[in-house]
Symmetry: C2
Subunit: 224 residues, 2 copies
């Protein structure tokens, strides 16, 4: 029982901080995306490709990993303001880690904040960070049945980016089977096929971002 109580208390406290983060983002007009996916699913590569195609001054990123600041360094080289969050032993980011790091990130002029979570298809889905949307990167190299094996992650995704599709000719992966699996677990399946290396699908991804941001902030204006 104590285990459940502790877990409940940890999540309740996390939700409080996440709400605080969310208010902060919304007040500043920042559309925040929790970018999740397996290790090596191409999360950082998608953000690098986003930097190449978008106004870099309007983008910032936090990059979570157990150790190293490799991803934040990659994103800085791509021209994105970014900070690393190292979690030590923890398998996911939480709202407090994000809140702490926000004090060190210049968000002036930023319209989109990407929070690249720890590579993991389980734990990150449970912890709200205050984001506006959940995006999951799923590489075609991971096979067809990951949505069925990790249903919580994909059920919470607002958008799934099927990444590395340039590798399809060299794999036995059936793209239709991936999409069928997603349709079985996502309440409202939204999918973009993407190759960060070749730039394929980046237009659709950017269109989704701008449309999603517009929806939130025009709704906020109507309510104000």
């Amino acid at each position: 029982m104590c285990k459940i109580d502790v877990q409940t208390r940890i999540l309740a406290r996390n939700d409080d901080t996440a709400s605080h983060n969310r208010i902060h983002f919304l007040e500043r007009g920042i559309f925040t995306v929790n970018v999740m996916g397996s290790p090596g699913s191409g999360k950082t590569a998608v953000l690098e490709a986003t930097a190449r195609a978008f106004d870099r001054r309007a983008i910032a990123a936090l990059a979570g990993d157990l150790a190293t600041d490799n991803d934040a360094a990659r994103l800085q080289r791509a021209g994105i303001r970014s900070r690393a969050i190292t979690t030590g032993q923890a398998c996911h980011l939480d709202a407090e880690l994000v809140h702490h790091e926000l004090h060190h990130l210049d968000l002036s002029g930023v319209d989109y904040l990407f929070i690249e979570n720890v590579g993991n298809l389980v734990c990150p889905a449970v912890y709200d960070l205050g984001q506006s949307a959940n995006v999951v990167a799923l590489s075609v190299t991971e096979g067809e049945d990951k949505p069925l094996k990790y249903p919580t992650m994909f059920a919470k995704a607002d958008l799934v980016l099927i990444t590395k599709i340039d590798l399809l000719p060299y794999l036995g992966t059936d793209l239709d089977a991936i999409q069928d699996a997603l349709a079985r677990v996502m309440p409202n399946p939204q999918v973009v096929l993407l190759s960060a290396r070749e730039g394929y699908g980046i237009d659709s991804w950017l269109a989704w971002l701008t449309k999603s941001r517009d929806e939130i902030f025009s709704a906020a204006e109507v309510m104000a």
Copy 2:
């Protein structure tokens, strides 16, 4: 404080059950491998290739996932006695889940038991299952720096299988960089390059298995 106490108690209880499992395996001459790796790193494909190259009657498997029995079904089709363990929301197997499932798996004549853990480079490394060895599958599609980003997993690995090496010509991945990263976190780096699809490296993997089993059971005989 309560969180730490609970975590300590959970791990202590897990260790007790893991010791019980370990005695059971050793008494029956079974070399048990905890097979870990990212989602889609090729764990099941390695076991399928093992079944093709080895005496299938000497192999059994438990296959862990949050949901579905897909991997256990694949292994059964490959001729391996196997059972699924579904963890629900849990990001790893534990010793109790393994112990419970052992009662449903016929281990007569089995020399090697593979426990395919939940696809995850963090949590499975923390929970002892009673195994003789930890093996991590790391796909070349995951990039070069995963050992540095998930050091606990790789530091605990007795062997790393670098999988899907048939895809190297189509990737920008630097194999030397992966091996350098492994050498920085593994106390005693043992690595096999492997392509389950093309059968490359399977001989080295089987040689490692038989040598490792022989070492444990000849040591046990000397002590007896």
